[in-house]
């Protein structure tokens, strides 16, 4: 046996480790190729970025030849995209480039775009780790967005908005729980129905209450956190960068960052988390030890609805200060994707949310690059987050392993 173990280890290293590392270096080089052409470097001639991009692709080819198809492929694609991006960037004027790539503003926007996704993805994590697929995140977010605005309007306070918003998400999640856990309906179908239900309910109530003029302009908003002293940190450039990127973020952004370690600890360092995961991996095993599978799943799904709703609340009264029909526009699905790419882990999901956030922020600004852009350009740029995601997922991350019992209703003996 020991002979085999040794052999296995050696084989594992020579087969996997070195090419994997080289492939990852290739991916980094691909990004570097693009970055060279952007501020603050702003290289204006082709040779440097092209050389770096080709190096990236070469590393990718080598990795593929050693069996690391996924990472290698990622390096090739990112290397080529890097070259193309760099060449495109060179065609834009320097001043336009500097107008678009204001890194502090991009960072702030990235965090802002990532926040609703983070809330919803973490919510989804609780539900899915307990074994219940939650495609209804979108609907739960939408409920939170509407009832957050409505609650803030009615109570006259953003705190009221947060609570009423969370409550509405939790209630919708309860419906999901009843159908999927007690009645054992198909989780995908139920989740889809939940989304349509939310669309209908919020659409109806919105038209009923605010149909003519939209939500009032003086909706109580969740405040920004102004961290003034950041701008005084020497040197001046750094202080300014810090203040402009994280000095004026919304309270909810900070809350979402706080939620990351908290949810990590709950899921992986407490008995509650262990039980949630056990129910999602092997419900019968949990049952034979006296854990109530149903109660655990109900709790996890309801919590997931409340958290997803928080993401919606942020959208309506933390970000846009208004509600319109279908405000979430698919962000719940993107959160679900972030959750999956992140391997059903808080920080993994956050990393994926940041990627989405960054590309959304970029997509919003890219049309400014060229003065002559047609009206169709911004629409095309909207696809950037999804394209980047596809590359990241297919190229680098690979398959993440879901909880073993996900999607399967539990039938007690």
């Amino acid at each position: 046996m020991s002979v085999r173990a040794e052999q296995l280890q050696r084989a594992a290293w020579t087969r996997a480790s070195a090419p994997q590392t080289i492939g990852l270096v290739g991916i980094a080089l691909g990004f570097l190729a693009l970055w060279l052409a952007l501020p603050p470097f702003g290289v204006r001639t082709a040779p440097a970025p092209v050389a770096v991009g080709i190096l990236a692709a070469a590393a990718g080819i080598w990795a593929i030849s050693r069996g690391k198809v996924r990472v290698g492929g990622g390096a090739i694609v990112i290397g080529l995209v890097g070259i193309a991006g760099a060449l495109l960037a060179m065609r834009a004027s320097s001043s336009n480039l500097e107008g678009v790539f204001v890194w502090s503003a991009l960072l702030a926007a990235t965090l802002r775009f990532a926040t609703p996704l983070t809330f919803a993805a973490i919510g989804g994590m609780f539900s899915e780790r307990s074994g219940v697929v939650n495609i209804g995140l979108e609907g739960m977010m939408l409920m939170g967005a509407f009832f957050g605005a409505y609650g803030a309007d009615q109570t006259g306070s953003w705190v009221g908005g947060i609570f009423i918003g969370m409550l509405s998400g939790a209630l919708l999640a309860l419906v999901h729980a009843i159908f999927t856990i007690s009645l054992r309906a198909d989780q995908i179908v139920t989740g889809t129905a939940i989304n349509f239900l939310a669309l209908g309910v919020t659409g109806y109530l919105y038209n009923q209450h605010y149909g003519n003029n939209g939500t009032p302009n003086n909706l109580p908003a969740i405040p920004d956190v102004n961290i003034k002293f950041l701008s005084h940190i020497p040197p001046h450039g750094l202080g300014n960068f810090l203040y402009n990127s994280i000095g004026q973020l919304n309270l909810m952004v900070w809350l979402s960052l706080l939620l990351l370690p908290v949810s990590y600890v709950v899921m992986f360092k407490t008995p509650v988390g262990l039980r949630i995961r056990s129910v999602g991996e092997h419900p019968r095993a949990a049952d034979t030890l006296g854990i109530s599978v149903y109660r655990t799943r109900y709790g996890a799904v309801i919590l997931s609805g409340a958290l997803a709703a928080l993401g919606g609340v942020f959208l309506s009264i933390g970000f846009l200060n208004s509600f319109t029909e279908n405000l979430t526009a698919g962000r719940g699905f993107i959160a679900l994707a972030a959750l999956i790419f992140g391997g059903w882990r808080p920080f993994g999901a956050f990393a994926a949310a940041l990627l989405f956030g960054f590309s959304s922020a970029l997509a919003l600004r890219l049309p400014d690059l060229s003065a002559s852009s047609s009206a169709a350009w911004p629409v095309l740029f909207q696809t950037l987050p999804y394209v980047l995601t596809l590359i990241a997922v297919a190229g680098v991350i690979g398959r993440s392993i879901p909880p073993a019992a996900i999607g399967r209703p539990y039938i007690k003996q």
């Binding site: 991996e281 095993a285 030890l289 854990i291 073993a404």
Partner: protein
């Protein structure tokens, strides 16, 4: 040592499922410090009875007494509270979690009532495990440890909860002979410390080796409870099956002719990139059964897959009836006269969701008379199925029954019917009786001997030494991908056991 007052008593337990009475007024009692075996064929109701005892099923009638007190069990939680622990037939372990996490789940030690105290959990599990000489790493993931160790984790789960009654449901079904022997030693230690054990099995030799008393179930009824002293395999088998059973295989001398399967210097790389078969050469001749003995995972599966064309051969040759079939695709190899009874009948032997008629046609459905011009003739499938099911005595369903609905023994008969029914010249039987009960084992063994007597070359791969020894005309021992020894039919079990674990290698090489 054995105290006469029962720690546990079941009175008149009846449990009905739609269409079956799984337990029919079963009485059972367990004394302190004894191993009480529950013996019966598959489907006799053994698991049902202990599931009732563990609070998983609620009995329709009857009562349960622990230390003389009647108790009600609403859930496993109640059973645990009364000191009952159970190792399930299919392990209740979470593969991606650590040993310690699996053991402490639902009774976790905490820090300040909030955080799970991993340090304390690991420490307590390590102490518990070393007090039984288990040598299990509390931090190892369950999926990374052997099946034998997983079973110990299950036992630790019960001990951690202070169980003094331990139920083991067919614990040896998944173990190698060595692991089974170690398990018996563990159980003897536990009973000497006052633990009472209910041990479920359908293997007679185990019962006679381990049990103090034996209760036999048949079709949900308790047939009798007997002491081990005075019990015989023959007598127990009769109680189990309800008729006389042939335990020793009855076979005449082989009449061996030309080689039908020849393997020459075969090398196979497995999916992890390791060399699983490292230069194996042997022949199987017409009219003989060659047994391949070895501990699981020493290259047997890869060897069989290479012969049947399911896995790529990296070098060496496989000849079937003198013809080189190395690298030929599996269905052509089957057509050239190979029959293959795969080791996992549910995964590879049958398509569980298909009907028996479809399962029996899996090799021939694409040729006349089953089909013509891409058109399948279901009536032809049914006709053949009816004939085969009768010849191979498959019970519990007709041609249209789903394969999943049959018992294990009858499923295996369907596989035999398909593989032997085609009249192959070479038959590979991989663990053909795994998980089967005495009656079905007898049937399978008779079929294999009959195939040999009809002039087929039979290669038997089995983890059960008993089976190898009672059927084989020659025995090969495989260890780490090599044939390390060859013996005649009368080699001792001890000798094989040593060679299978690498002990006899120097001598053989």
């Amino acid at each position: 040592m054995v105290d006469e007052a029962p720690v546990l008593e079941l009175r008149g337990i009846t449990k009905r499922f739609p269409g079956v009475v799984a337990n029919d007024h079963v009485d059972f009692d367990l004394r302190r410090g004894e191993v009480h075996a529950l013996l019966g064929e598959n489907g006799a109701g053994k698991s049902t009875l202990v599931n009732v005892l563990y609070g998983l099923y609620h009995p329709d009638e009857g009562s349960i007494l622990v230390k003389g007190e009647p108790i009600r069990l609403h859930s496993p939680k109640d059973a645990i509270k009364h000191g009952i622990g159970m190792v399930h037939q299919h392990f209740m372990l979470i593969p991606v979690m650590t040993v310690a996490e699996n053991i402490v789940l639902a009774t976790e030690p905490t820090q300040g009532g909030v955080l799970l105290d991993y340090r304390a959990a690991n420490k307590r599990v390590a102490e518990l495990s070393s007090s039984f000489n288990f040598a299990i790493d509390p931090g190892a993931r369950v999926e990374s440890i052997s099946v034998g160790q997983q079973q110990r984790v299950e036992i630790l789960k019960a001990l951690y909860r202070h169980a003094d009654i331990l139920i083991l449901d067919e614990p040896t079904a998944v173990l190698t002979p060595q692991e089974a022997r170690e398990l018996f030693a563990i159980l003897k230690t536990l009973t000497s410390q006052g633990m009472s054990v209910i041990f479920i099995t359908h293997k007679l030799n185990e019962v006679l080796e381990l049990a103090d008393r034996i209760t036999v179930l048949r079709r949900g009824n308790r047939i009798d409870t007997v002491d081990r002293q005075g019990a015989t395999e023959q007598g127990l088998a009769r109680m189990m099956v309800g008729r006389d059973v042939l335990l020793r295989v009855d076979k005449g001398a082989p009449s061996v002719a030309e080689p039908l399967l020849s393997i020459d210097d075969l090398h196979v790389i497995d999916e992890r990139g390791l060399e699983a078969v490292r230069g194996v050469s042997f022949e199987v001749r017409s009219g003989e059964i060659v047994g391949l003995a070895g501990v699981d995972g020493n290259g047997q599966s890869e060897l069989i897959d290479a012969i049947s064309g399911l896995q790529r051969v990296s070098s060496g040759t496989v000849k079937l009836g003198g013809r080189d079939v190395t690298g030929v695709n599996p269905s052509s190899i089957l057509d050239l006269g190979l029959g293959h009874i795969p080791e996992d009948r549910q995964l590879r032997g049958l398509v569980l969701e298909f009907s028996l008629a479809e399962n029996l046609a899996l090799h021939d459905f694409d040729k006349p008379p089953d089909s013509r011009w891409g058109w399948l003739f279901p009536r032809q499938l049914v006709r053949r199925a009816r004939d085969l099911l009768k010849r191979y005595d498959v019970r519990g369903g007709g041609p249209q029954t789903r394969a999943a609905a049959l018992s294990g023994g009858n499923q295996q008969k369907v596989v035999l019917a398909r593989e032997i029914g085609r009249g192959p010249s070479v038959l590979i039987a991989a663990q053909p009786t795994r998980g089967l009960d005495v009656g079905a084992i007898e049937f399978v063994h008779r079929q294999l001997v009959e195939a040999r007597d009809n002039g087929k070359a039979v290669l038997l791969v089995s983890l059960e030494l008993d089976e190898i020894l009672s059927l084989s005309d020659r025995v090969l021992v495989v260890y780490e991908g090599r044939i390390v020894a060859e013996h005649g039919p009368d080699v001792g079990e001890e000798q094989l056991g040593i060679e299978m674990t690498g002990g006899g290698r120097e001598v053989a090489a």
